[in-house]
Symmetry: C2
Subunit: 442 residues, 2 copies
């Protein structure tokens, strides 16, 4: 059996590892357009910020050489240019040898990843406007920072945008974030997002909300509210699926142009699978397809795709879209549905918000934190959670993740035997307090 994987990062290489284990006789080729495999794209802001002692190599979990030693035929600098699903053939360009090559397959996994959303604005293709996706992008940005930082403008207050803003400030640049909405981090409720804005300001990041970028000229970002000089522009609006190659091959796309897949990661085209940031997921609460571009999901999908391609039978878990980030020591996490999203999905939902502290309030180290729980009014079932606050606040989201997955009610969460000691929590954990408060409303 000949298997081709397009894309050598999280999903692609997770799949490759499963295939080597599950179908050792298969002929497996991975086409990767960059020089790198299995790297942490999520680590790029920290690389740029100078927090990765080993530099770019530190972000590589497993190099092409290591994969080859384990029996995976990785072709780096190979960019897939076309898929012929009828002939079961992938065309590629080998940038190393400057030659076109082609690969026949019996089974194809498309793991092309995501790409930064590039709004259709004048000047968007100028070279000083950068996306952050591949490790090579990160290396380029690191070199920029090493040359002595200057004025960086980030378009969009998504979490990558905010992490990059902090990274450049850490390197001595000025950083300005231009956000179209009323608050950064549009995935969380605006009132909680506004607190992120305060944290940014305290660290010297300039944030402009309700600001519409209208275009770019060399050295300047134009907005409806005035111009911002910039030596570098980072796109931080969000990540879409890198699905054009698949679409051009006639492979069906779904929500937000992500490749339509079932929970075995099979596309609707025979012999073609997809996994990672280029593919759909199924939401656990709505049962609807969603596009969630996160490393956690990509790894899970890749494993499942690899298991199935190797002849196994695995299903990808449904997702909650759990996300967490930290901006200037202010932590943010969310999972499941906000009240708005739950109402839109047809749930009779309500949100309950409580303010507490990251741990025992009498310790000098305690910081404020806020927990918001979304629950179903009639049943009390937990539907979502958002947590913002100081150090130690956000990882509590995993309690909410586990509770939602188990179908727990807010009353059940309020009674959990959660951990407590003064440096870790209050005697009633903030998540339990929020759940108990919610239980009174249901």
């Amino acid at each position: 059996m000949r298997i081709v994987i397009i894309g050598g990062d999280a999903a692609g290489m997770s799949a490759a590892t499963r295939i080597v284990a599950g179908a050792p006789g298969a002929e497996l080729v991975v086409l990767e357009r960059t020089r790198f495999t299995s790297y942490s794209a999520c680590g790029i802001p920290f690389l740029v910020g100078g927090e990765v002692p080993k530099g770019a190599d530190g972000l590589v979990a497993r190099s092409p050489q290591e994969h080859r030693r384990r029996g995976v035929d990785v072709r780096t600098l190979h960019e897939a240019t076309a898929i012929d699903v009828a002939e079961r053939r992938v065309e590629a360009f080998d940038h190393g040898n400057g030659a076109a090559v082609s690969f026949d397959y019996d089974q194809l996994l498309v793991a092309t990843g995501g790409e930064p959303v590039r709004p259709d604005l004048p000047g968007i293709d100028l070279p000083f406007v950068k996306g952050v996706q591949t490790l090579q992008d990160g290396i380029d940005l690191l070199e920029f920072a090493d040359r002595g930082c200057r004025r960086v403008v980030i378009v969009g207050g998504g979490y990558i945008g905010l992490e990059m803003a902090e990274a450049f400030v850490n390197r001595g640049c000025t950083a300005t974030v231009l956000e179209r909405g009323a608050a950064p981090l549009s995935l969380i409720d605006a009132d909680l997002g506004a607190r992120v804005g305060e944290a940014l300001a305290g660290r010297g990041v300039e944030l402009h909300t309700t600001t519409d970028v209208t275009g770019f000229d060399e050295g300047v970002v134009h907005t409806a509210q005035g111009d911002h000089p910039a030596d570098l522009v980072i796109l931080g609006i969000g990540v879409g699926p890198r699905s054009t190659l698949a679409a051009e091959a006639g492979i069906e796309l779904g929500v937000k142009r992500a490749i339509r897949v079932d929970r075995r990661q099979a596309s609707t085209t025979d012999g073609v699978w997809a996994a990672g940031d280029c593919a759909e997921s199924i939401h656990m609460l709505t049962d609807e397809p969603v596009h969630i571009a996160l490393g956690t999901v990509a790894n899970k999908q890749g494993r499942v795709a690899g298991t199935n391609i190797a002849g196994g039978d695995a299903l990808t878990p449904k997702v909650l879209g759990t996300a967490i980030t930290k901006v200037c020591d202010f932590e943010i996490a969310l999972t499941g549905l906000t009240e708005r999203a739950a109402l839109d999905a047809g749930f009779d939902a309500l949100a309950t918000t409580i303010d507490s502290t990251t741990h025992a309030g009498y310790l000098g180290t305690a910081q404020p934190m806020t927990v918001r729980i979304t629950s179903e009014r009639a049943t009390g079932r937990v539907l979502g959670g958002q947590i913002v606050g100081g150090t130690g606040a956000a990882m509590r989201i995993d309690t909410v993740v586990t509770a939602i997955t188990a179908g727990m009610t807010v009353t059940q969460v309020s009674e959990l035997d959660l951990a407590y000691a003064p440096p870790f929590s209050s005697v009633w954990d903030p998540v339990a307090i929020a759940a108990r408060t919610a239980a009174r409303s249901t």
Copy 2:
């Protein structure tokens, strides 16, 4: 209705608050032997260590005056001396007025708390041998530390003992911990406890394991392995129920001399309830009575007792004995059953251990952590968890708590959509990795 509560800390005052809310017409008296109510006994080591900016008052969540303003008749410095369950009367000594007083009740709540285990050794009653239980104990120790610290010996490597050792070292004392077992923190497996010992040593705490204390003379602790000079001795062996008053009244005791109660917190004596460190709990996994002296449990039991005394109908959740602590920046948490405890309880259990890092290993801030999951061999059901490691490791125990409570299997835990970003976790959370590893063994 006349209600008397003996004990004005976590359980007693949680109950009082529910009674005032649920039975506003009741005549309610709380007898508290110290000057303080509703304080964090768990905060005492941090008070002594100088980490509570407001001092002893900072540990008081609600003072007697505040409780009185809310309608609770708190009598401080009132020490209950006898209970007559036939006459429904409590005898007490008012240390403020130096007079005996008595209180008739229709319903009595015994919330006398816990007390440090005092081994029956020569010299145990010498004044330089101290337990740590009441806030007054904490104030006394703080004054000792303020006078210029010297040589402190802690008998027993329980979590209070270790927290006190760190506190005294922070204040410039020398601290020596004498532990009978092979490792401190006997609640966790010895190999994990041994790592706690390493963390202690790195901070200058002297730890002697397999050391049997044989007695005390002024200025010295005798052990079978030699003498240790000491200006102060702290008992850190553990906490037992303060149940002698109840026992003398003929109220039934259960496991480890804790007051026998049902899940409504009713004792087996008509009209008498018990809650907090003096009372039993029911273990969620074994369904057997256990004695768990923790603030979390005390608060839950107090609420339930108060609700029921006020005419409501509440049940205390079963417990997992979740505990967490931090010694010299090394974190330790456990919940549910260790493999040994699970086997002893009749489960066909196995433990699975994985080593990982507190967050993305390529960040300079990542530290080692270890997760051990206990699971049932045939079903894969999660039965317990232990986590040790650097900053951020231990609060993940709440994922395990929630999973056990929901009856999840290790496979289900391995598929959870847990939070990930490089400063918080690995892309596969260590708990999920442990669960996945365990799933392969079941």
